[in-house]
């Protein structure tokens, strides 16, 4: 904690309402989200309806879960572009195995092993082979999609078998609220505890802020890197299971959609700097709130999906520019070839 600058410490201790006077990105985004919410509530019919609000929360749950995994990786100065591929393809493979008659326990063990292997591969190449994370995960994402699609499954969409627990999971309700909302909330709380109160959680900030210094003071920077990618892979698996639960199938075309950029968008727009070392679970929540409200509002206004993509891309571009201005790259710790 003492290693953090004072300004940041104050930010992170301010639980609850952000401090508007400091006008950081998170505060701005939160204010925009509130303004949008109020405007939509007044201007759009049916927006304020409890069912619609529930739909918003539900729609951002999976996105939020994926963004939690991404956030941990980004805080440690990495990025995981294979998250969506792992999410869709692991579950698709799992369902395919079930459909072709493999016992559930065995099939799940296969998938867990596969997800673990990809997480380890990502982590190993980034940590020990010193390959930039962005290339590693781009390549493994492409590989995972291509391998599973061409070798392990037969069609784009794989349905959930009748009466399987994944299907039942999708139907679970507590107080009329779908299960994925609770999973999101639970995971968010766990990540919050991990990042704030565990030693390794704090280390992630140090390693993301200045990897060389972190290594010099004895932090196991490389094993932790591997851990983060494994964590991100398992988070993706959970998100994939929840998606399959609510849709009763998994469509692998989601890998080629803009979902991946939505995840980065949630993380970056919430104020998690891409240069690492800053941000937390609260940023993910703020980012997810804004994106959820935005997507819902656009859907109510009936903007076509293609235009929604355009708008999201424009917002992401804006977010990255703002991120670049607020967290300028540090020429002293930025490395040659860090693109």
């Amino acid at each position: 904690m003492a290693a953090l600058p004072l300004g940041r410490k104050r930010d992170m201790n301010a639980i609850g309402w952000p401090n508007f006077r400091s006008l950081n990105q998170e505060g701005i985004v939160f204010a925009i989200a509130v303004v949008l919410f109020v405007a939509a509530a007044i201007g759009l019919p049916g927006f304020i309806d409890p069912n619609n609000l529930l739909a918003i929360v539900r729609s951002v749950s999976v996105l939020g879960i994926l963004a939690l995994g991404m956030a941990v990786v980004i805080i440690g100065r990495g990025i995981d572009l294979s998250a969506v591929a792992i999410m869709a393809m692991s579950v698709a493979w799992y369902l395919q195995l079930l459909n072709s008659g493999t016992p559930d326990g065995l099939a799940f063990a296969y998938v867990l092993a596969g997800v673990l292997a990809i997480g380890l591969l990502n982590g190993f190449l980034v940590a020990y082979a010193d390959v930039p994370a962005i290339f590693v995960t781009l390549a493994t994402g492409s590989f995972v999609f291509g391998y599973v699609r061409s070798q392990l499954i037969t069609q784009d969409a794989v349905p959930v078998p009748q009466g399987h627990w994944v299907e039942l999971l999708g139907g679970l309700r507590f107080l009329d609220i779908p299960i994925e909302v609770f999973v999101f909330a639970g995971l968010a709380f766990l990540f919050f505890l991990f990042l704030r109160y565990t030693k390794w959680g704090r280390y992630i900030y140090f390693a993301g802020d200045n990897p060389v210094a972190a290594r010099n003071i004895g932090i196991p920077v490389r094993p932790m890197l591997v851990l983060r990618y494994v964590l991100s892979a398992f988070v993706a698996l959970i998100a994939g299971l929840l998606t399959a639960a609510s849709l009763h199938s998994i469509n692998t075309r989601v890998v080629n959609s803009t979902l991946l950029y939505d995840i980065v968008l949630v993380a970056v727009i919430g104020g998690i700097g891409l240069s690492g070392g800053r941000g937390g679970v609260r940023n993910v929540l703020v980012g997810a709130a804004l994106i959820g409200i935005l997507l819902n509002a656009m859907t109510i206004i009936d903007i076509p999906l293609l235009y929604q993509n355009l708008i999201k891309a424009a917002i992401l571009l804006g977010a990255i520019i703002v991120d670049g201005v607020i967290n300028p790259r540090d020429e002293q710790t930025a490395q040659q070839g860090d693109i």
């Binding site: 990025i79 190449l125 082979a129 010193d130 390959v131 930039p132 962005i134 290339f135 590693v136 781009l138 390549a139 493994t140 994402g141 492409s142 590989f143 995972v144 999609f145 291509g146 391998y147 599973v148 699609r149 061409s150 070798q151 784009d156 803009t258 950029y261 980065v264 891409l274 293609l306 235009y307 993509n309 355009l310 999201k312 891309a313 424009a314 992401l316 571009l317 990255i320 520019i321 670049g324 201005v325 300028p328 790259r329 020429e331 040659q336 070839g337 860090d338 693109i339």
Partner: protein
Amino acid sequence: MSFRERLQSWRYNLVPDHLVGEILTKRWTDNAIPFLALVVTLATFGSIIPGFFKLTSLQESTRQLGEFSMVVTGMTVVMLGGGIDLSVGSIFALSCFSAVYVFFILEQSIWLALATSLATGLVFGAINGYLVGYLRLRAFLTTLVTFIFGRALFDILVTTYAADVQLSTATSDVLDFIGDSTFWGLSVSVWLAIILAIVTHIALTRSRPGWHVLAVGGSRRSAHNAGIRVRRTVFMTYVFSGFCASIGGFLIACRLSGAGPGTGLNLEIMALTAAVVGGVSLGGGRGSVIKGLMGAIIVLTMTNGLIRLGYGTGTNQMVLGIMLAVAVTIDIRWLKNRHKVLNEVYVAPVYLKMGATQSAAPGSGTPYELDNRLSKADHIGLGELEGPEDVILDRDDNLYCGTRHGEIVRFFAPDYVRSEVFAHIGGFPLGLAFDKSGNLISCVGAMGLYSVSPTREVKRLSAETSRSWTSIVDDARLRDPNDCDVAPDGRIYFTDSTKRYDAHDWALDSIENRATGRLLVYDPKDGSTKALLDGYRYTNGVCMAHDGKSLFFAESWACRVHRYWLEGPKAGTAECVIRDMPGYPDNINRASDGNYWMAWLGMRTPSFDLSLRHPDMRKRMTRRLPQDEWLFPNINTGGVVKFNQTGGIVEAMGDLTGGAHPMVTSMREHKGYLFVGGILNNRIGRYKISGADPNWTSPASYWGAKS
């Protein structure tokens, strides 16, 4: 020689291990892996797919290759500048759409379509360039976002106008020609791709903007400090990439006469994979257009080949993913470890069995028996000098020596207390000699043969000779010119000790013990430098015989002295006159009594002699131990030896205390005194030789009394 030893000598003297290290020093080895991959890919798919090399099949593939390789060329330039451009697929698609829109819907001329297409690419590239170059955003994410943005825009446009394009009746001969015809057997797109590649290659390697791109990619900070406009250079690379992608887009518009949702899909990861597989380094500075093209061919052959072999959806992504991961990892590991590998394999020791020698120990009774006379020498320049390898005196009794700072220092007669920097050359001035007109000739380690006139003008005489046909490392360059002497006709005979190591790595040469030393001659009449003899183990001192008809030269690591004949029946040949000395010989100079002085830079030890018979042990030593702990020749003690015309040893002297002259690399007799230098010493010694001619001087001996 035991059987084991004979095996060792065969193994290490006949197998050219050293070539591995020499090949690794070459920049073109970077190309070897992608080239091999190219050959393997083409051979594999050519043999699996029937008709792969048929003209019609090639025609269609090459058309696609033309478009693709243009995009890759743009990507290569961006990557050389230290960035990355993932938006090429979007630019490609949007340019294609612009051309289609202008031509088919607005029904304008094809040239206007081309202009619109190019403008689209340039504007898109300029946006990327502004964001990455001037705002200094992260290239990867920024272009990823502009890629999504462009793709979303393209999807909207294509769905909106697809029907209109289908209904259009616009035709053009030019469009058909670009899209379908061939010119001298190659399609227009291939011709354009070749022209673009050549122009880009020349621009990158031979023009200022190209060098700036490479400099920025190589080291952004250094480029900035050197005054290069880094931001503008980065900006321009993205504009160029946009330009290249837009030509590709225009060509596909001509070929397909339309734009569809699949146009330019996955192009960014394909182009990125192509560039990286070809060997263009991430992070910039290393790579070339040719490498990008090799990668383009590999990637396109792979993906097309797999489609034609009937593999299903997703195979391309799988293969691209594997190729990208493997290529990036190899690239990063290779860049990081190349110098380590080189360090490990470059030293390739050979076997040598040194002959038995006589002892030089005091009281041993041999001619080599050292005494303690040199410890009584006076000192000159104590503490002021660092590394006087050679010393020489002029006709006015002034004393000259080189230093490790690249200077030649002059001490003034008669007391040699005052000194001045006579000339600054650089490198490490080693051997010295005066020619007839009083110019000081010096062999400068790591630089070449230099001449300093009495008025202190420094002139380079020679830095290279002709290159031999079988050399891998450049053996034309003089790496370690060591000692020189001037013949009566003015020709300068000098040695270049090794072809494999730079001057400061001379100790590594002793461990390797490979015979690569040369004797060369510089002819002042035509300025040519010619190698006379080759294949000695560290040629060192050179001295013209008193009659000027032959010269003596030392072969340090073999402990031998040879005589090379300039005239007479044996002209042009060398014979060994002293062999198996107990010390490593260095410089040789004339003595007043018609004999020759020879310096010993170190003494043989039984342990090092033994290690010379165990090249495997020395190889392990250089790989596994830090350099401080290597077994080197003993250069902590040496001496001065006088020998006669026929190689008989007359006397030997040393400094047994090691206090004043532990090792000696040079000595020069002048008016009854011996001036002694050492390359690792901090002084020049002056020793009064009993019984020497008090009037004899070296310049007079060479060039006659003062006229």
